[in-house]
Symmetry: C2
Subunit: 447 residues, 2 copies
């Protein structure tokens, strides 16, 4: 009898879990259920379609229909899972036409993702107020942009800033409003965030931090917002204040949630219920530095967890030990990246840190086009191990974040990084890369 | 009594050793001796001036005269060191006007560098035959380029290819001839080198490998070369077949050379003679993987060794454990990099390897401008540790080389790299970076 594997969700986590399951078991009967119409596309690409960098939403499809046929996956789109019975090992779902069906499973993978949430701001029901999570969301925003001259984005996280930048690039007068006193609060320390904010403001994006939106203004249609008494006109308001993991089905089925209120899994991505795995935005994961559960709803985390969940669900063996939270983005032509803990997040975890910042160049000082790059490195005080890095600069940020990610993973000390070998050529790098120079500055502080 | 420190050489190694010595001992009497007129400039930048990317040779000066004044360094240019007496602890040298002088030292640092060597090819004395090591060399080439239509470069190492590319960029019909069967033989395995060669040929650089130059043709002035019976016309011939470390003075003074015929030093960069240190292109160094002496005449190695030599010479303590040989260059718009051992160099060292190659993209597949990048990763068979990486691609090569450099330094295994966390954003990187995907392919081969 072929193994029956059911996967709920068909984006990064769902599709990668499915691929891993198929690679592990060629004969398994694999069924995917998703309530969406469009599947297997890159959500992270959405703001860049809005910004005009990518031609169409269709370009974002990473797993086309042909992929599911080739992999012999029974993909059921626009189906709504109504119940999971972990004792009977069944999943009950409803087709769009109302028809119900129940599937038996040997292994179940919950990759149910997350959804945008709009905080209870007065006026949030008005026409012209959007969230940005799906192609459908973006199509509605695209449509609204045709007649819009100005926009407000609420929330200065990655999605919020990427969307704000996209609006400016498309010619809209745009303001981003953030409740916390800095942009990218989950990613950067305030000093680096302030450098990012200054750069973005220099490119024409207005940013208000440390203020909450009092009200979304307008009649039936949005006309602006009121923030700290000030009125900001806007034809479009995008709310990007965060997402909430889709954990309701799991919870109803008796699957345990963790302290972050996301699904709790072990290193094999198995929930507290045997044969039920979970991955992606709906699970919590272990931070490799603090060793504590954390919320890390990144695409990179989703695909890595999914590979492990899919392998195990199909009878293989793989583990996902946790995350460092390496992330990066490009805002206008400014690259911003981070990995590990910042000073602030380390402090919240009770870790004492020493840190140093340095601004160097991305090429030899004398080479035309050399761009400034600001690097901040954070070390744990007692062990002198690197625990975090943050960067803002013109080029090479993503790969420098990766280099620091490897360094943190392998418990490199500040001293080791300060003398670590890097490569050099005038058009591409300095003899001492800015990350090694930052480590040298940090080393002097540790002495 | 202030400590007397004498440094022979005033380029990367000499200048960085001087800086480190000054930082370690504010009161030392520091004298630098160099037979050159121009000091403290970036040799690695020379081909890029020839190519027109950098405006003038003056731009390459990293340590201007003001630097030596500020650091209270007695810099004696155009002086020729004639003798080192390690018993009397003196250095004898001659000024340009013939006057001799003898300096007492407490610590001596030999950073005498290397010089270009021209193999005994028939016709090598003709006008129009050049080497490329100094600003003066380049000025002569620049002058000759004014009336030249074609060029030949003998040697397809880093300098040879960079110079060949510069000539093409300046409109010269150019051929590079390499004795060995591949380009960049000291840096890359043949498969990766062949990919580089194909790219360069596609951009208009003619390359002949596996053939030696029979003769440089012409009367008093060069008119071409004869290679394997074929005649290649050339108004300029640049010989870039390698350099030889300037070890004669040291040898004469009784300082021991190692098995590579370069000066032998310990981890403190001290020679077999007490208080005599050496660094840069004139010393051999330990390869961190083979643990054997190696020749690694890179700028990055020079500055790292120099920092250690200067610190120790001034009474401090620092060690330089060895090299991985991380190197990179940009040829036209193609980035090429390597670190650690290739399959061929590992084989020569008696190390059994498993390797895998993979061609991925530098951005999300769907993002406009995503460029192909070919990655090869080499692992030691028994321990499954990463011991080398080679890359060719459009962007991000230098920082990926650095990431692998950190991985090798910290003894990362293939399995660890295959699941290591990297960052992702559609305009900057894929969810699985090509280096992690290459490691995944390699992992399958190890099973």
């Amino acid at each position: 009898m072929p193994k029956k594997i059911v996967i709920i969700g068909a984006h990064a986590a769902g599709c990668d879990a499915t691929s891993a399951a198929r690679l592990t078991d060629k004969n398994a009967e694999i069924t995917m259920l998703t309530n969406e119409k469009h599947v297997g596309y890159s959500r992270c690409g959405l703001p860049f379609v809005l910004g005009g960098h990518i031609k169409s939403f269709a370009d974002l499809i990473v797993f086309p229909q042909s992929y599911f046929r080739m992999m012999k996956i029974d993909l059921k789109i626009e189906t709504n899972v109504t119940n999971i019975d972990v004792k009977a090992k069944t999943v009950e779902f409803q087709y769009r036409d109302g028809r119900m069906e129940t599937l038996q499973y040997d292994s179940l993978i919950i990759a149910a993702g997350a959804r945008s949430v709009i905080p209870p701001i007065k006026g949030r029901e008005k026409r012209g107020v959007f969230t940005l999570r799906t192609i459908e969301d973006c199509e509605r925003i695209e449509q609204a942009m045709k007649e819009a001259k100005s926009a407000v984005v609420i929330g200065a996280g990655l999605i919020g800033l990427e969307t704000g930048v996209a609006f400016v690039e498309r010619g809209l007068k745009t303001t981003v409003v953030e409740l916390l006193p800095q942009v990218l609060p989950a990613m950067l320390d305030k000093d680096v965030a302030d450098a990012v904010q200054k750069e973005l403001e220099g490119k024409g994006l207005k940013i208000i931090t440390g203020r909450s939106v009092d009200e979304i203004l307008g009649n039936e249609k949005v006309s602006g917002i009121s923030v700290g008494g000030e009125q900001v006109p806007a034809d479009i308001v995008v709310v990007a204040t965060g997402v909430r993991g889709n954990t309701e089905l799991a919870q109803k089925a008796g699957i345990e949630l963790g302290e972050t209120r996301l699904i709790k899994v072990n290193m094999r991505m198995e929930t507290n219920v045997k044969d039920v795995y979970a991955c992606g935005d709906c699970v919590e994961t272990i931070n490799l530095i603090t060793k504590r559960p954390t919320v890390c709803q990144l695409g990179t985390t989703a695909v890595r967890q999914a590979k492990v969940a899919g392998t195990n669900a199909a009878g293989g063996y793989a583990i996902f030990p946790g995350v460092l939270g390496a992330s990066v983005t490009k805002l206008f032509d400014i690259e911003v990246g981070a990995v590990g803990l910042g000073e602030a997040s380390a402090q919240r975890a009770g870790i004492e840190t020493v840190s140093a910042s340095f601004t160097g160049k991305t090429k030899a000082q004398y080479y035309p086009g050399a761009l400034p790059i600001k690097v901040k490195i954070i070390a744990e005080k007692e062990t002198e191990k690197i625990i975090g890095g943050q960067m803002i600069g013109g080029e090479g940020v993503a790969q420098r974040v990766n280099a620091l990610s490897f360094a943190i993973l392998k418990e490199m000390t500040v001293k080791e990084l300060a003398k670590a070998e890097t490569c050099y050529a005038p058009p591409l790098a300095e003899t001492w890369d800015p990350i090694t120079l930052t480590a040298q500055m940090l080393l002097r502080k540790l002495k």
